[in-house]
Amino acid sequence: MSFHIAFLLLSVSLIVPSPSAQDEVADSVAVSDSALVVAAPPTSVIASEHEYDDGEALDLSWVPSIDDQLVGGLVIAYRVYRSTNGGELEMIEELIPGANQFTSGELSSDSSYSYVVAAVTTSGEFASNATAPLSPETEWLNYEKKWLFLIGLLIAGAVMYFIETARKGKKLFVRKIAGLEAIDDAVGRATEMGRSILFIPGIQDMDDVQTLAGLTILGRIAGTIAEYDTKLFMPVSRSLVMTAARETIKASFQTAGRPDKYSDDMVSYVTDEQFGYVAHVDGIMVREKPATVFLLGAFFAESLILAETGNSIGAIQIAGTARPAQLPFFIAACDFTLIGEELFAASAYLSNEPRALGSLKGQDVGKALAMIVIVIGVLAATIASAWQVESMQSIVDTLNSVFSTN
């Protein structure tokens, strides 16, 4: 009942619904009638469908109160009230003066919602008319992301096209990558010296794609290690990585026909903690003196601690990461470094399997596309801004909207 009265009051733009606000007003009115600060309510309050969501939000917009001025404005805030399925109004949001829109989230598409926006002054609230009830709708496709989808599809399609082409037996050329050429030699060197190989797949868990890259490379070189019968040890900092690494090595040894040489002891879990792990690996490096050290995966600050210690024991070091911040340290302290993309390409390259090589071709299509877009975009933008050419500006705008991700 009280709601209906309040609602009535609201619709004729009188003072106020919420009990607490009412008390305040009563107080201030009691002190002095002249202290009453009256403001015009916000107008044209419109609720509309929030686009491309799971039917859980509505957009609200309004024209601010004319008493909401930058200088000497009376409005100190806006409050947004919501009524669900014609129920009681509840305050869901307080906004700063000057606000003229709001997205109301956490809704359900089964209910309908009506909104009231009130301008708040020191004396109380001055509410707008209520919006017509509206239910949010579920959209099944996010059209805002259509370009992400299409370009992604184009590049993924190129990768798959080349995989398929290669599978059919077409020879594809991939240039030599220095760091990868060195891997076999590095394994051979450890064998000759009768020393071990240390493999570090980064310090992240299986939910980092760089760790996966490290493990796929491990899969390729473990076969060589099995053939040479070299000692491999691999302290890891994540339990799941330990499990996956064991599977990987076991499979590679099996494929190489040396399953007897495999032992679970090759891979051991140390600790999840970054520097505790590093302290252990450093210690083990100087004690075991491996001839070859692989550092392939996600590395953080420890990259240089590991690489310098490895360098001090005279090991051949092959490193790779996709963390740009750590690459300089690997470049400085390791013999070969796989830079970013090369880390992901490595297992494909090493496998020498046509399909995997085909995928490398596919990503070159992506690079070519990026290069073409950059050239066209930069030229068009330059001409547009230097000579005010409209058509060029529209090219730039189109490219920007296509590649824009938000």
Binding site: V209, T271, A386
Partner: protein
């Protein structure tokens, strides 16, 4: 007790530093403590956050949690040799999800976004641009382009292509040199922090 604690901290600090001289018993002791304590610490944190925090306190009624727990239990099947192979299911799940998740994420923020940002007028957006801005813009465009050429796999680095790739390498080298130089500072800060602990907090020698 407080005296003891700060001496322990100082003892361990110096134990780690002693590694710079050579591997020794003091370091080995610090390392052993480090590994044991940190592995335990990690598990305890995981337990309270992810098991207690989610099953008891947080969203305990969420079906998703139990799917997670089910996958976790499958993982533990490794301990039973006969059905150990079943632990590959959660592993396959993780690998698939990681691959799918990162494919889009990296593609959108590393490829789309960076390409978009590189599209800009070489001569600046208006007449206020200085010569340095223009040179900077040109350098960014040329550097990004040639850097991409360097990463091209399908073509041998020869001729004009090879020349561009060479320029690309130069840019990469500047990038690496610059980040390295920039980092030196931050690494020194860490050491400053530790030595401040030893000489300041512990021994009280800094005024």
């Amino acid at each position: 007790m407080e005296h003891f604690a700060i001496w322990v901290a100082a003892f361990l600090t110096m134990g780690i530093i002693s590694f710079l001289y050579k591997d020794n018993a003091w370091y080995k002791l610090s390392e052993a403590i480090f590994v044991g304590i940190s592995a335990g610490y990690w598990f305890v944190t995981l337990f309270w956050d992810n098991i207690y925090g989610k099953f008891w306190v947080g969203r305990g009624d969420d079906a998703m949690l139990y799917i997670g727990a089910f996958l976790g239990l499958l993982m533990l099947m490794r301990l039973v040799p006969k059905v150990g192979w079943i632990s590959r299911w959660p592993l396959a799940f993780i690998v698939g999800a990681t691959a799918g998740f990162y494919l889009i994420n990296y593609f959108s923020s590393n490829v789309m976004r960076q390409v978009e940002d590189t599209i800009m007028p070489l001569l600046g957006t208006d007449y206020s641009a200085t010569t340095y801005d223009m040179i900077g813009n040109i350098v960014i465009a040329v550097g990004t382009f040639s850097g991409l050429v360097y990463f091209f796999f399908s073509k041998e680095h020869k001729g004009v292509f090879g020349g561009t790739a060479k320029v690309g390498i130069f840019f990469l080298m500047i990038t690496f040199g610059a980040s390295f130089g920039y980092t030196v500072m931050s690494r020194m800060s860490l050491l400053i922090g530790r030595l401040d602990f030893l000489f300041g907090d512990w021994l009280g020698m800094i005024k």
